[in-house]
């Protein structure tokens, strides 16, 4: 139940913040609803549901209940995937589509899947080449070329 209390508290804070922001946007009069009218109602409803769930969770929780979040075991793998994606997003313009794709696939295969170097590098190169051919050459998707713009 500890987990549920944390989640409900998050929703409550989220609801409070958005209610205030919606109010600031302007609720207007009822016969001409303003920009804040609809989000205000939605935020208040979220707050009410979160409060209801929070009260229920507190009522049901026991003093020695100390359940942890169930994601701890795989958090490392998830972080690696996200880190790879973030790096890809921020390096795409600099390094270019081909190079970023190669690095991303190689990173995932080596770090997450623990493949040997030959398999990692050959698969990453194949994916980078195939993606370049499909998106850049065939679909003309205008992906960033970055460092390798002189080459491709």
């Amino acid at each position: 139940m500890k987990r549920e209390i944390i989640i409900c508290s998050f929703w409550l804070l989220f609801s409070c913040y958005l209610s205030v922001e919606s109010y600031r946007l302007g609720l207007s009069t009822a016969n001409r609803p303003g920009p804040g009218f609809f989000p205000f109602i939605a935020a208040i409803a979220i707050g009410l549901i979160a409060a209801f769930r929070l009260v229920n969770s507190i009522r049901k929780s026991s003093p020695d209940d100390n359940s942890e979040l169930a994601i701890a075991g795989e958090a490392k793998l998830v972080l690696y995937v996200i880190a790879g994606m973030m790096a890809y997003a921020f390096l795409l313009d600099l390094l270019g589509f081909f190079f970023c794709t190669f690095l991303l696939v190689a990173f995932y295969l080596k770090v997450i899947a623990a493949r040997r170097w030959p398999a990692t590098l050959s698969f990453a190169a194949a994916v980078a080449l195939a993606s370049h051919f499909f998106f850049d050459v065939l679909l003309k998707a205008e992906m960033p070329r970055g460092l390798l713009s002189w080459l491709i």
């Binding site: 946007l25 009069t29 016969n31 009218f37 989000p39 795989e74 996200i82 994606m85 991303l104």
Partner: protein, 501 residues
């Protein structure tokens, strides 16, 4: 006769070389995602949404429709051969399908699943052709209050029939609606919740959100999953015997009717249709003890029902503009990207698209029947591809999809954020479908409510004074409030029991 004539015209339209090519790509891709556990039709459609900008509308929609029913065919293959349902709608097929495969009858199981799906899909298609235009006629009488009430009803139905607690599903629907209000106000043009971030001025796009929710989050959840044991025996004799046909004829008929009815009701989905069809067959069978031990009826009925439901599920969307789940919400978004407003006027304003789509379903179902049986060997090989080779590709397509749709990395960041959100939602048992529906219909709902209130000079009673609006509002309120009075959701116990079975 008009309907049949229009349907014939639709088939001719769908049979043009370009449409056939897109249709073929759709059913093939659909079967592939149906075979692969961990990426469903919603994920595949999400990844393909950016393509909408480059492809002709009808051809593109034909491909997306093909993915949805192709996935139903593909899901059954893995259920029967590997005991792993590629799709949730094929879970129940595992029981008797895999048992048949172990008895050396994988061929007839796969055959009857394919033929059943084909028959169910084609009959349901005729149902859609006759029912959708009639419903759309009714929808033409809708003004803003009726439309607002209908949208609220659709959203409430999905929340009411959600698997988990209703309040959690409602929370997600509201969260989706709130996300939809990011960007410029549809009436005054005032920026809302943009935090001076340029990417947010146009709102939180459906494409990056669903790519994150259905593509990236699936990878994050499945990272530690292991592949199942592949059924190694050689498959022969895909055509069912005469006795198999005799045993399956009535289950296919009942599965078609049940699947069609369940699929057409907003909130109910394909999965429920399959469980209901299986439960009915077991209940009326003279030999219920055979079920779970390789009864062909246990394959024929749910496999027919899932395709029939998958077809009839389009009725609320195409006739009234009411998406009823994740996949229909995504198709709704795809239609909007092409400037095609789904709603009562859709059939009248875009008859070539509507009938072309129905025609493509007829062709697609036939394509799947002809293609899939010989390709079963290929699908089994696809299943043997290790996940560590697949997930980098899914992530890569997610990033490329988001980037090419907007041409900047801002949408890639949104994909990452919603990948994490989707992962946490799965871990904490929050369903994504109500959130996506909230995001898709949020702007329409807001505009309809605000217009209604302007019409009535601020009187909420307008939603209860007009008969059609009052009907939908009454039904929505009943669904929302009944659990408070009865402490249970009508029909929900039946759904839970069916799923337990």
């Amino acid at each position: 006769m008009d309907t049949l004539h229009s349907l014939a015209q639709g088939i001719l339209t769908a049979a043009s070389p370009l449409n056939l090519l897109y249709g073929f790509a759709g059913v093939l891709l659909g079967t592939l995602v149906g075979v692969l556990p961990g990426l469903g039709p919603a994920g595949a459609i999400a990844l393909l949404l950016p393509l909408a900008l480059h492809a002709p509308p009808l051809a593109y929609l034909i491909m997306l429709f093909g993915i949805t029913y192709g996935a139903q065919y593909g899901g059954s293959t893995t259920s029967i051969l590997v005991n792993i349902p590629g799709e949730a709608s094929s879970v129940i097929t595992c029981l008797d399908g895999y048992a048949m495969a172990r008895q050396g009858r994988a061929g007839p199981a796969l055959g009857i699943a394919a033929f059943g799906s084909f028959i169910g899909g084609m009959v349901a298609l005729l149902g859609v052709a006759f029912l959708a235009p009639a419903l759309a006629e009714l929808g033409l009488r809708f003004g803003p209050p009726e439309y607002a009430a209908l949208l609220l009803f659709g959203l409430t139905a999905l929340v009411y029939l959600a698997h988990g607690p209703m309040d959690k599903a409602l929370l997600m629907a509201l969260f989706g609606s709130l996300l939809a209000s990011v960007g410029l106000d549809p009436v005054t043009g005032q920026p809302r919740f943009t935090f001076d971030i340029l990417v947010l001025r146009d709102g939180v796009g459906l494409t990056p959100v669903v790519i994150g929710l259905f593509g990236v989050s699936e990878v994050l959840v499945n990272l530690q999953a292991h592949a199942g044991e592949i059924f190694q025996k050689k498959i022969k004799g895909l055509l069912p015997t005469l006795q198999d046909w005799k045993d399956s004829a009535m289950p296919i008929t009942r599965g078609t009717v049940l699947g069609f009815l369940v699929g057409a009701i907003p909130g109910l989905n394909v999965v429920i249709a399959t469980f209901a069809a299986y439960a009915v067959e077991k209940k009326i069978s003279k030999h219920p003890e055979k079920f779970g031990r390789g009864a062909i009826e246990g394959v024929a009925a749910p496999e027919t029902a899932n395709n029939a439901a998958s077809c009839s599920g389009w009725i609320p969307l195409l006739s009234l503009g009411l998406p009823t789940g994740s996949v229909t919400s995504l198709i709704f978004g795809a239609l909007m990207i092409h400037g095609l407003a789904p709603g009562p006027l859709f059939i009248k304003n875009s008859p070539d698209i509507f009938w072309g789509l129905l025609g493509s379903m007829a062709i697609g179902n036939a394509m799947l029947l002809i293609l899939n049986l010989p390709l079963i060997g290929l699908w089994i090989r696809v299943l043997q591809v290790p996940y560590y080779f697949l997930f980098p590709l899914i992530i890569l397509f997610s990033i490329i999809g988001a980037y090419t749709a907007a041409g900047n990395t801002g949408d890639v960041v949104i994909v990452i954020i919603f990948g994490i959100v989707g992962y946490l939602m799965k871990k904490f048992a929050y369903e994504p479908a109500p959130m996506v529906l909230g995001l898709v219909i949020g702007p329409l709902l807001e505009t309809a409510i605000r217009r209604s209130l302007i019409m009535s000079k601020g009187h909420v009673a307008i939603f209860f004074q007009r008969p059609i609006a009052a009907f939908f509002m009454g039904a929505a309120l009943l669904m929302l409030l009944s659990p408070l009075l009865t402490r249970r959701r009508i029909g929900h116990e039946i759904i839970e029991k069916l799923e337990e079975q």
